[in-house]
């Protein structure tokens, strides 16, 4: 808070009171300015002039100047006297002081304005806050009242709840009681029944005894003649064997029934397993191939590997023959897993469909579809462009081909093309002629070879004929000798004649053996030559004859 000061001014008129009023009514907010600064209203009214004249009159000029000087010096302004303790006034300093005072005045006025503005703002804020406060107070009141009402209701409901619980408990207790009553009565009845039954049994026994004792002759069966058994067999005594047989038969009956049951169950199981496996395969086929999406691989990786494992295992082992627990569990677990995956997949698809219908754009699937459309547009554009390009090319080509003949450049071009072609053709002709010459040469050599071959064969045939003759003759000589000569190896110490004979025979045999080799070799060679000559395709008739001869000799 600022403090304000009254001015002790020697001469004051009635207008001077205004100053007092003004100054006394003004509050000074805490400021960094001089607390001794005087505030006065901004607009200077007419009365100020009178105030100004009231301070300094012609009589007290020097006093007022001295006073002013004192005030100014205390305020930190330079003295207005030209020199200290002099009577001459320093005009410059006076003007400066005045200027300074004016500036100060302006500053003060501005500060005042600001402070007033702030004051107004604060006043309005205060009003606003007071309004808010009032409203909030009202609301608080209302909510408090509501809370009280709700609490009351809650209390009532809790009471009701408690009552109902109590009723329920009572009912339950009653039911329990009634049940106990019933059970106790039941036991009582049973006990009484048992007692009565025992009495009754006693009576029955007594009656039975009486009846049996009477030896009633009438209890008898009269029959004309006894009938044979239904199955024609004679009655048998009851022995241990029959007992054992009966037991056995009974167990057989039971076992056969159980076996039938088991067979049916096995069949059913097998069918169901087949169905399950089929279902599994179908589910797997329905599921989308998720290996292409690397994002999801991390999630489905283990699942996929399980899938593959399952498939592998189950296919490997042909499970339906076995019926052990683990296999069954595996199958059912794998089906459950895949069914869950399929369900998730279907749910995802459903969500996608619903989202597409609602038109949301922030899903990647929807965007991908848009992308897809964009891409298709792009591709179509490209296709258009390409088509245009092709058309232009075609046009250009047509132009080129259809250009008028009187153009030299085109003629030249045409000539160039033709020349090129001609040269190519000539090259090919040359090559062709060369090949032809080569072929001719080869043919000639082949024919010469064939002729030579023919001559050689003739010679060979003559030789062969001679040799065969010789052979035949030698064989007939051998035959005449063979009657006298036995197996040469049996005789160890043989005569010379025998030895010679043996030698001769062995020689002949050897010669035969020697000769026999070429016989086997030559046909091979001739056959080779035959094949060669047949390749050359010359003298086909001669070749066939040779073939025939070879064949007949072989036979």
């Amino acid at each position: 808070m600022g403090d304000w000061k009254t001015i002790t001014v020697p001469v004051l008129s009635s207008d001077g009171k205004n100053i007092f009023q003004y100054t006394s009514e003004k509050k000074i907010s805490s400021s960094s300015m001089n607390s001794q600064v005087l505030h006065s209203p901004l607009p200077l009214s007419k009365s100020t002039h009178s105030i100004f004249s009231a301070f300094c009159t012609e009589e007290n000029i020097e006093q007022s100047i001295a006073y002013l000087d004192r005030e100014l010096t205390t305020l930190g302004f330079p003295s207005i006297y030209a020199e200290s303790k002099g009577k001459e006034l320093n005009l410059i300093s006076i003007i400066n002081c005045m200027n300074e005072l004016l500036v100060l005045q302006h500053k003060n006025l501005r500060a005042q304005e600001e402070v007033e503005m702030q004051h107004l703002k604060l006043g309005s804020d205060m009003d606003h806050l007071q309004n808010c406060y009032a409203k909030l107070k009202e609301q608080l009141e209302l909510s408090k009242r509501e809370i009280v009402g709700l609490q009351e209701r809650d209390r009532q409901l809790q009471n009701k709840n408690r009552n109902l619980h109590q009723l329920l408990k009572n009912e339950k207790d009653e039911v329990q009681k009634l049940q106990n009553i019933i059970s106790s009565r039941a036991t009582q009845y049973n006990h009484d029944m048992k007692r009565k039954e025992r009495e009754y049994n006693k009576l029955k026994e007594r009656l039975h005894q009486l009846v049996m004792n009477k030896k009633d002759k009438k209890i008898a069966m009269e029959v004309l003649n006894y009938v044979g058994r239904a199955d024609g067999k004679r009655g048998a005594w009851r022995t241990d064997k029959t007992e054992a047989r009966n037991e056995e038969e009974m167990y057989k009956v039971l076992l056969s029934d159980y076996e039938q049951c088991q067979k049916q169950l096995l069949l059913e199981n097998a069918e169901l397993k087949k169905v399950l496996q089929q279902m599994k395969k179908e589910i797997i086929s329905l599921l989308p191939p998720q290996k292409q999406k690397p994002k999801e691989r991390s999630e489905d990786g283990p699942v996929l590997s399980d899938l593959e494992e399952d498939i592998g295992e189950l296919n490997k082992e042909n499970m339906w023959e076995l019926s052990c627990e683990t296999v069954r569990e595996q199958l059912t677990n794998s089906i459950r897993k895949q069914w869950r995956m399929l369900k998730n997949h279907v749910e995802k698809l459903d969500n996608q469909v619903s989202r597409v219908h609602s038109g949301a754009l922030n899903e990647k699937d929807v965007i991908s579809r848009e992308d897809h459309e964009l891409e298709t547009e792009k591709l179509e554009l490209e296709i258009q462009q390409c088509r245009e390009m092709i058309r232009t090319q075609q046009q250009l080509l047509q132009q080129q081909l259809m250009s008028p003949c009187d153009d030299d450049t085109t003629l030249l071009l045409q000539d160039c093309y033709l020349l090129e072609e001609r040269e190519r053709l000539q090259e090919e002709w040359r090559l062709f002629r060369e090949q032809k010459k080569n072929f001719e040469k080869e043919r000639r050599s082949f024919t010469e070879a064939a002729i030579r071959l023919g001559l050689e064969r003739k010679a060979f045939e003559e030789d062969r004929g001679a040799w065969l003759k010789q052979q035949f003759l030698s064989m007939s000589a051998d035959y005449m000798h063979s009657e006298n000569v036995t197996a040469p190896s049996a005789f160890s110490g043989s005569s010379d004649q025998d030895n010679r004979l043996v030698k001769s025979t062995s020689q002949q045999r050897r010669s035969r053996c020697v000769l026999s080799r070429p016989v086997s070799a030559e046909p091979c060679q001739t056959s080779q030559c035959v094949t060669c000559s047949s390749a050359a395709s010359k003298k086909p008739a001669g070749d066939s004859k040779a073939n025939q001869r070879v064949g007949s000799d072989k036979e």
């Binding site: 009633d216 004309l224 009956v253």
Partner: protein
């Protein structure tokens, strides 16, 4: 569909022979054996007293006639009419009599269930089974006739004895965990015996042929329990009808309940077909009848025609509230029967006595409901095909098959209230029994 002339018959004793050739009927103390097709009388036997029970032997050669008041059983032979046999129980009395499966032994239950005497027609031997249980179904034979189970009670405990029928040797004897055994029945495959307790306790026990307890089934406590039990022909299912108007079906693999069939008074399932019998105005339209009866003019004047209408679901059936303070109340599933091909189950809820509920066993769902105008007296499945015949105490016989259902008026003069019916083993004919008369109904093969 042809009908024969009615012939007189007493005490609803009209039985077809197992081989299907003859029909035995009783008239007071006379036993008549007729040919099943022509109803020509083949034999006539006279018994000593009014016959209360007749039964054919399994080879159709003998008939036993039991006269409980006199305590006498007389056996007649078809091959040799001169042959006779009389079993006199004397002062011991007689309450029940039946054949053994081999057709050569007769089991007589004496009065007060003192004992069961096994009389042999082949030898002079007599066997006794002591302490038989006095219950509704105390003796049961397996279907192949090899074993017999007898319920016994000693010292206030229930037992079951299993005998080999060929030589009456005791095979197994074991006690059952029942309070008061009510009935026993073999499964058709002869390997499982169902034993159920009195209606005060819902408990059914399943024993194997060698006496081991396979399983126990208890649906609930305290309320009245089992009323009727039926095995399916393949032994796959056991249907238990109880007083809570439900049928529980057990399966033969786990002996646990696989489903229960409810019988509410209002049917809401739209897949069920409800046939309602509706009376037509008499003597006007005879062309609406599916099968014109033989005496259309005469009978149409005195009897109302009826036909079946298919009513739209939801249907509310007529139900009765049983008297709460009487014993054996008329509520619960009192009649239960599987069809011979194992595909259908017919039930009657005694609360809703006019309706027959037919359940599809393959789907375990309600298939058809037949609502009649009168209370159902008796129904029986055709032994060859899934065809159900039922009667409601009037002179009409009703037939249902999956193809549809038909109501046929029996062309008989006078009163003919059918209370029981019995199919022939071939499925081609049916005996319709009233209190005093019997009428044969011959069905063509193509019908229904």
């Amino acid at each position: 569909m042809d009908f024969s002339e009615p012939f007189r018959l007493s005490a609803l004793l009209g039985r077809f022979s197992p081989d299907g050739r003859s029909l035995a009927s009783c008239m007071q103390y006379r036993l008549l054996v007729r040919d099943a097709n022509t109803l020509q009388i083949l034999q006539l036997y006279t018994c000593l007293d009014q016959i209360q029970y007749i039964e054919w032997s399994s080879d159709s050669l003998f008939i036993l006639c039991a006269m409980y008041k006199r305590g006498i059983v007389q056996v007649w032979s078809l091959e040799q009419p001169d042959w006779h046999c009389k079993i006199d129980e004397g002062s011991v009395g007689l309450v029940a009599s039946c054949w053994s499966p081999d057709g050569r032994h007769i089991l007589n239950t004496t009065e007060f269930h003192l004992r069961i005497t096994v009389w042999s027609l082949c030898t002079k031997s007599v066997s006794y089974i002591k302490y038989p249980k006095a219950c509704q179904q105390g003796i049961t034979f397996t279907k192949d006739g090899r074993y017999m189970a007898v319920a016994e009670r000693r010292d206030c405990k229930d037992f079951v004895s299993i005998f080999v029928c060929s030589d009456w040797q005791l095979l197994r004897h074991f006690d059952t965990e029942t309070q008061d055994l009510f009935g026993i029945e073999w499964a058709p495959n002869g390997c499982v015996l169902a034993v159920w307790d009195t209606c005060l306790e819902y408990k059914i026990l399943l024993y194997s042929l060698d006496g081991r307890l396979l399983s126990t089934y208890r649906a609930y406590e305290w309320s009245l329990g089992i009323k009727s039990v039926a095995w399916s022909p393949s032994s796959q299912f056991l249907a238990i009808g109880s007083y809570d108007e439900k049928v529980h079906i057990l399966n033969h693999v786990t002996w646990k309940k696989i489903t229960e069939f409810e019988h509410p008074a209002t049917i809401v399932n739209s897949k069920t077909v409800v046939y309602k019998e509706v009376e037509k105005s008499p003597s006007v339209e005879t062309e609406q009848l599916s099968f014109p009866p033989m005496r259309a003019l005469a009978s149409s004047l005195f009897s109302t025609q009826s036909k079946y209408d298919i009513t739209q679901v939801p249907v509310s059936l007529h139900h009765v509230k049983p008297a709460a303070d009487r014993a054996n109340p008329k509520m619960g599933i009192g009649m239960l029967a599987f069809s011979s091909d194992n595909c259908f189950l017919a039930t009657r809820n005694d609360n809703i006595p006019n309706a027959v509920w037919i359940w599809d066993i393959q789907k375990l769902k309600l298939f058809v409901v037949l609502e009649q105008l009168g209370a159902i007296q008796c129904f029986q499945w055709d032994p060859r095909q899934p065809r159900l015949a039922l009667c409601t105490g009037n002179s009409k016989v009703y037939l249902w098959s999956p193809a549809g259902c038909v109501s046929v008026q029996v062309p008989v003069e006078g009163d003919f209230q059918i209370v029981s019916l019995s199919w022939h083993s071939s499925g081609n004919s049916m005996a319709l029994l009233s209190k005093d008369n019997c009428c044969m109904c011959y069905l063509d093969r193509e019908e229904v």
